[in-house]
């Protein structure tokens, strides 16, 4: 118990002292995950809308595929992309393996199913009259899509936050695709795994505290938006 207390105390000291190594890891984590979510969101929203409002062959199959991909382990995504990006792989010439770009790709693959499935649910639950009203009031397809998305914005925000929470805390894909290289691809979860294996608990706990604070903030925002959505309808 004493060692846990000591490690926690040291972790707080590390955070407070502005340890450059520690904050660098935190910075990489946020940079990679934010880039991934920014790239993944627009096409995911569009796809979710098409799945909710479109009528084309294979729509139901696609919905089932995305629902299934929700539970895909990060390690499996990491392994698949590793094989594709490694020198012998079909994308080996791009030389992306063990770079932040590879981590971004891995996180995009992980968050797209969450975004599509959750945004699809939110859009599916939207009142159909919203789309018809927008169109009959003279809105073009783009304006009408944006209007319907605005109507279910709280559900869409919730999807965004859930996806961000998932990718910033995942370790499997980042470890395999980034390689956990200091000052380059070491992010919070991979650093925690490494420090724990070395017995350096204080840095692991400090990073864990950052993740916990982030999870708390994301959950708080999620409940706030869900609450607003409930009261708005």
């Amino acid at each position: 118990m004493d060692s846990l207390n000591n490690a926690t105390f040291e972790a707080l000291q590390l955070l407070a002292s502005g340890d450059s190594g520690l904050w660098n890891i935190i910075g990489i984590s946020f940079k990679v995950s934010t880039t991934a979510i920014l790239i993944a969101t627009p096409p995911s929203l569009l796809l979710a809308f098409l799945l909710a409002y479109g009528d084309f062959p294979g729509r139901r199959l696609l919905i089932s595929v995305f629902s299934t991909l929700l539970s895909i382990p990060a390690v499996v995504v990491g392994l698949t992309l590793y094989l594709m990006l490694s020198r012998q792989g079909p994308l080996g010439d791009l030389k992306l393996l063990f770079t932040q770009s590879a981590m971004v790709i891995g996180q995009i693959v992980l968050c797209v199913p969450i975004l599509v499935a959750m945004c699809h649910s939110a859009l599916q639950a939207a009142d159909r009259r919203a789309w018809e009203t927008a169109r009959t009031l003279g809105a073009g397809p783009v304006r009408a899509v944006l209007t319907v998305m605005h109507e279910v914005r709280f559900g869409l925000f919730a999807a965004l936050l859930a996806a961000y929470g998932r990718i910033i805390a995942e370790v499997g894909a980042s470890m395999m695709l980034g390689g956990n290289i200091l000052n380059a691809t070491r992010n919070i979860p991979t650093a925690i795994a490494l420090e724990t294996s070395k017995g350096e608990f204080s840095q692991g706990i400090a990073l864990g505290i950052v993740l916990l604070i982030l999870a708390f903030i994301l959950n708080g925002l999620l409940h706030y938006f869900q609450g607003k959505g409930r009261f708005a309808t």
Partner: protein, 241 residues
Amino acid sequence: MTATINIQFKGIAKRYRRRTILDGIDISLQASQCTLLCGANGAGKTTLLKIMAGLVKPDSGTLNTGLGEMKWRRCIKALKEKAMYMHQHPYMFDASVRRNIAYALPPMLSREDRDKRIYEALAWANLEPLATASATILSGGEVQRVALARAWLRSPSVLLLDEPTTNMDHDARLRTHNLLRQLKDQGMAIVISSHDALQFQSLACRQLLLKDGKISPVNKTTQAENVSAFPIGPIHQHQQA
């Protein structure tokens, strides 16, 4: 105003799964003409109105919007520009009354023009006191007035209303009738679907019955049958008085 034919629909057919909803409907709409579309529940009134608004694609049928008879796909854009559909319970966006009304304006309008036209629409529908209120908490009658203000602002050639006075009290019905009459006098072709033929008799120029996928004009005998099928509500008593 000279009544000119705005839109002609020919041979409109629609099937849902194996059920024929509309079976070759021909209907023409003229400016300043109010058509009352009657029929039982599930007769296909809403489907027909949505097809006429360009919101639902028919299985077959042609359209003449003034440029000659054309296939549906070729003139759907023109139809959407000319026609506007109002739901039985009009949808209000999660915003203020003012913003709901402003939605009917073209987005490129200047700020001054925008404000001026919104103010005019609010005044027309007597909605000024509710301008900043959330549109999602309005009563049925107020919602209908906001929807009519949007129609007034958009001023389509054809206005299609689905059971516009359902669950409304007497005053709200009278207000809605009054606003509809003004829209008709402005030159709009109005189509109202309703169970209750008597309620819109003073407003309607003609009455059509949708039954078994076919449409037919209502003669006096049929109308009498329709009247006896529905109890006389407060609005009828008022009209009779």
